[in-house]
Amino acid sequence: MNALLVAEGDGETFVRQGPGAYLKAAREERGWDVTHIANAMHLDEDTVEALEADDFESLTSPVFVQGYLRKYARLVDTPSEPLLRAYRDLRPPDESEPRQNLRAAAGKPEMHSNHAFVRIVSFVVICLMLGLLFVWWQGHLQDAEPGFLERAMDRIGGEEAASPEDAEPLPPMPAGISGDDVVQPFIYHGEETADPARDEIETAEDLKPTPGEAQTVEQGGAGETQAEPEGAPAVTEAEASDQTTVAGAPQAVSEGEAAARSATAEDPYRVVFHFDRTSWVDVRDGNGRLLIVGEKGGGLSEQLTSGEPPFAVVLGRADAVRVEVNGAPFDLAPHSRKNVARFKLDQGALGLN
């Protein structure tokens, strides 16, 4: 039997008995019988006797026993806390005790959210998630707005091309000079170019030069002039990429090459989209202007004749569309992904160089 500590006045008395036995002694001291207590507590005499005998097993759950002890202690004018402490010492472990007590008994250290390891793990997880979110966002952006980045790049490129340095007329170069810093034999300007020289070029185009006509670019302080003297040299497309004809230095080329050049001069470029089946198409010029857009039914053909290159092209159903550039078929396979073709037709691809 555990020791029961009961405070009495200023001193302390150790009573070697259970709480029930102590209460019984207090009752007997006052000359009360069990019935008196049972009536006062509205309990059966059996319950009071079991309480006094410390027979808690035969009584109901601990919450009631503690209540009885508290009430009994009040009746006999005794502090209830030491009695309740003694009862808890005697009581077998209760299953309904909070779970944390069991954890404490098991001695397992509990890891809280402020633990360093948890913080590090959470930080890593957050970084990982942010990274994934960024990757997803990038992909989503590209999927949602096809050609957005390309348009932005083209716009930047267009601005660079329109910079004053580029707009300045190039000084005349001696004949026969070729290389990277060549002067283009044929200069094409977009429709929006408000350059007086452009009008001259258009006028020259309207002339529809015949094959074999020479094309001359004269660059000087007066501006840019273009003349096509009879028998003037023509430049093949292959040569155009790395070789230039300079004003005053006509160069003779083969007859076949002249014919090819002639086709280009008639119409600077000719891009045709043949839609075998219904497909979605989006074609924008170098200024971001929409040239062809929307769903095109099967059997239709769309021709691209105006606008400033490079052209950003998106074909929603690549296998349903055939593209011809200057009469030659354009291979979409290298530019297709998930049956959506995205490509750019620059001056080189259009044969304008």
């Binding site: 507590m41 509205h42 309990l43 059966d44 319950t47 109901t60 759950s61 601990p62 919450v63 009631f64 503690q66 209540g67 009885y68 508290r70 009430k71 209760d94 309904s96 909070p98 779970r99 944390q100 954890r103 509990e110 809280h112 959210s113 402020n114 948890v118 913080r119 959470s122 930080f123 997880v125 957050i126």
Partner: protein, 349 residues
């Protein structure tokens, strides 16, 4: 959803006793982690249509009650156990949930069990659920307060024996007979600690011609309040505004006067208990008569309330250990039991 689950890893399961007077939060594995008054101080910015911001919550806000300037209003967002101001309740819950979570790296998203009065309507329950969800809870369960109080008090609710519990809160008193993890009979009366305070204010105004505040009335109740005439008569000196003179005056009240003042709300509670006993099936009534009625809630701390009910019913009446926290503790235990045995063990929603 995924983020909520992730945040849930770093959150503790909580049981919330969203009371009219006090809000208690029991965190699983930690015990009672918060016990604060359900009061929110709202600051209204100057100008017409100015923004409303939360100035203080809990204890700090309660100290402002009745002492605020024009631009601050200290309000109690719950009335009679149910939500009276949805937005403010949500803000208050949000504040408390954040307060009980130490970490600030990840916003907590705990599973929350909220105790609701058994007499609350579906609309009122829905409001509490939405409010807890709005405050950041990942999952919200509702449990009826008497069941939670019985579990918290340690009553053997799973046994095939009747257990009767009377939970006297700030706004409501709930009485229920429980057996086999279910409520056999439950009733809720809108009488609680607040009605006791109002009764004291009313008594003092009527008999002394003096107006006292709610906080003073609560202090009187706690210090000399009694439900049954005792041998000892206690006294307290209080100050209030004399209605005739319009200036503050001091006067003395004794416990017998307060007992007289509390007669009306006390008889309402006793009536509810008697009605419950009348409605209880005889077998369960016999169990209650044998073992007694258990009192929980802050109202159980009113001196000699157990004795009053005991005298009125002739049954043993016991006050549970730490009656103020029984509901919150019971909710925490219920959450554990739900995890162990599944959600169907209690009639949680």
């Amino acid at each position: 959803m995924f983020l909520k689950r992730l945040r849930g890893i770093f959150s503790n399961d909580l049981s919330i006793d969203l009371g009219t007077a006090n809000t208690l939060i029991y965190a699983r594995g930690q015990g009672i982690v918060l016990d604060e008054p359900s009061v929110v101080a709202i600051r209204q910015d100057r100008g017409h249509g100015g923004a409303r911001t939360v100035a203080a919550v809990g204890l700090e806000a309660k100290q402002m009650l009745g002492r605020t300037p024009a631009n601050i209003t200290a309000i109690r967002p719950l009335k009679e156990g149910v939500i009276a101001d949805f937005t403010v309740t949500e803000k208050m819950l949000q504040h408390f949930i954040h307060k009980v979570h130490e970490t600030r790296i990840i916003r907590p998203s705990p599973r929350v069990l909220v105790c609701v009065p058994c007499g609350s309507t579906q609309v009122e329950r829905r409001a509490i659920k939405e409010s807890a969800a709005g405050a950041g809870a990942r999952e919200v369960y509702l449990i009826e307060e008497p069941m939670s109080a019985a579990i918290g008090a340690g009553l053997p609710v799973d046994e095939a024996r009747g257990s009767m519990v009377l939970d006297i809160g700030g706004g409501t008193s709930e009485v229920a007979i429980i057996s086999l993890n279910g409520i056999v009979y439950a009733n809720s009366v809108r009488i609680g600690g607040d009605r006791f305070d109002e009764a004291i204010v009313s008594y003092v105004r009527r008999n002394y011609g003096t107006l006292i505040g709610d906080a003073t009335a609560e202090r009187i109740k706690k210090e000399i309040g009694s439900a049954y005439p005792g041998d000892e008569v206690k006294e307290i000196e209080v100050k209030g505004r004399n209605l005739a003179e319009g200036i503050p005056r001091s006067f003395t009240l004794n416990s017998n006067e307060i007992l007289e003042a509390l007669q009306e709300p006390l008889s309402g509670i006793v009536g509810a208990v008697k009605a419950a006993l009348e409605q209880t099936p005889p077998e369960l009534g016999a169990d209650v008569a044998e073992r007694g009625i258990v009192l929980t809630g802050g109202g159980a701390l009113l001196r000699d309330l157990d004795r009053l009910i005991e005298e009125e019913t002739g049954l043993p009446v016991l006050v549970a250990e730490d009656p103020l926290t029984c509901v919150a503790r019971g909710g925490g235990r219920a959450l554990e039991l739900i995890d162990e045995r599944g959600g169907e063990i209690f009639s949680v929603e």
